[in-house]
Amino acid sequence: MFSRPAQDPQRPPMHRALRQMDLPARRVLVALLLSGGATVALWLALPWILWGWQALMELLLRFCGIDAPVSQTYLPLAGWRISTLSVDFAGGLPDIWQLAAAALVVLALISLARWKGLRFLPAKYLALAIAVILLASMLQLTFAAGTVQRRAGDEATAQLWAGQILLLLLPGLLGCTYFILNDHLPRQLALLAASLVFVLLATPLLAVAHLVVLDTGSLLWSPLLFLLFGSLPMLMGVVAFYGWAMGWE
């Protein structure tokens, strides 16, 4: 009954409420080829990627004086075996001084969260979240140290797994959310390359950073690193690249 206004050059530009995008078959094909091709290439290159991560981590860990062997292993998943890395590092329990320091940090964060002068609520809530996680870790390591079955290396291994999963999903994600929106192959390749390089570098560097923190500060910090400073900053980095690329449109 009602039709969309015709695209007449004499008429004013279409109102933003009525805008939409066309989706030519060529663009879908390019998006599929690009994201599919990149995904296949990543799977094929996985052994080399893992080798590169392993070499980089061993170099950095030696530089930091941390004895944490990084080895290749397999991730059992639905009957398949997917190559991955694991880190063998026990980590230590906190001593009384580290617990005291952590308690001071918790008190400081809670005070900051309750300070009426801090009106920026995200900072308040982040401070509170860090305090809660740290307090939970302190309580466990003080009163129930026997229940701790994880090792410091597990946290770094989780970081590596998370990065690996994100790396393999990334071309598909960008295919669905960016490649189908435009026909500019250079921009698509630029975003894909930038995001992949970021994840390729961030994954082992974050894992090493976590090990340094755990070596210096004990297992006390591992829940905090796992929940707030692991895959989340990596994801936000990818989203930042995505937002930057969308700003080109």
Binding site: L18, R19, S137, A240
Partner: protein, 424 residues
Amino acid sequence: MTNDIVHALEAFLALVMGIMVIYAARHFIFSFSRLFGRQRHPYVDVDTVDWPAITVLVAAHNEQSVIEDCLRALLEVDYPADKMLIMPVNDRSTDDTRAIIDRVAATVQGRIQAFHRQGGKPGKAAALKEATTLVRTDLMLVFDADYLPGQGLIKQLVAPFFDPEVGAVMGRVVPLNGSRNFLTQILELERAGGYQVDQQARMNLGLVPQYGGTVGGVRVSALESAGGWHDDVLAEDTDLTYRLLLNGWSTAYTNRSECYEEVPEEWAVRRRQIIRWARGHNQALARHFWSTLRASALPWLVRADALLLLGVYAVPVLMLAAWAASLLVFMFGAEPLAGGTVLALALMSFGSLGNFAAFFEIGVACLLDGQTRRIRLLPLNIAGFLVSMVAISDGFCSQVLAALGRPRELKWDKTARYRTQRET
């Protein structure tokens, strides 16, 4: 902590992941529909018709800084003056709202009929309920006092009512102060995603656009058939959307009908606003979940989307609980890696897909709005999300406690205004 408890927590995490995957899929579907699907704007070309008589209600409680601008804007719309009656609903204001309304009304004889409410049950819904008894037209539009309707807005909002199945109409709310500071900028992003993509996609797909209580209108006969305004709810708009739906009426969304509002400029104000919305919405969830689930007259897709829409303010509570559960699983998990392979995979896959779905929706909205510079703020949206998650959970907990204890009297907790009367 025993293995049984850890396994139970893992099962809970898996359940929450499943729910989040459904919502992520919904975001993607809506974004693709808005971008590439068949767009439904069935009323956009309605122009030369015999416009019906309408009443425009303007809800006002201590709105001295903004009410005059709203009334002046309404007086300048291009709707036939003899067919439009403006009814400011002054609900027990203690400032100069009443005096300002009376002053403006005196300058335009017959066009403004003020309703000054001195007592009665507090809350916007109660005020609208009383005001509706004075409405003599079958169509009524509702605005909040801080809104600034454009000249053609009224016609755009009335047009869908030519469809006899339409019981309510909703337009698009656009922040007036979107560039004021960091908070207003991320709220502008959220609003854009919610209206430009989410609401329009639901209109495209024949699902359930939501009546938002302002920049919208209601057919009085539909309202009466659905039981009238309920003054014991915090979100009368959500409640009405579902009562209309369950009584066979549809809600139309008109993306082109843009109206400007002020978004909160301070985080504390934003927090109170989101708590109010969450409590009202969750109240609607409790009231309408089972009846919506059992509404066999509705197509299953409509029912499914209606249920998902009801749950949007319960999801952040689940997410916060899931974060707590994942912390416990990590700390006490017996398996080498935080609950095992599947959990790690699920967490990461959801984290990437799930977050991307929401960001994609906002990115699409910015693209369609032609305002791609602000897309670069996307990753900073997590700040707003953190505040929303905590505030919604806070509201949920206090709501549960209130339900277990003595019911509290509803009060009109209105958002702070920033615009002074002479600024516009």
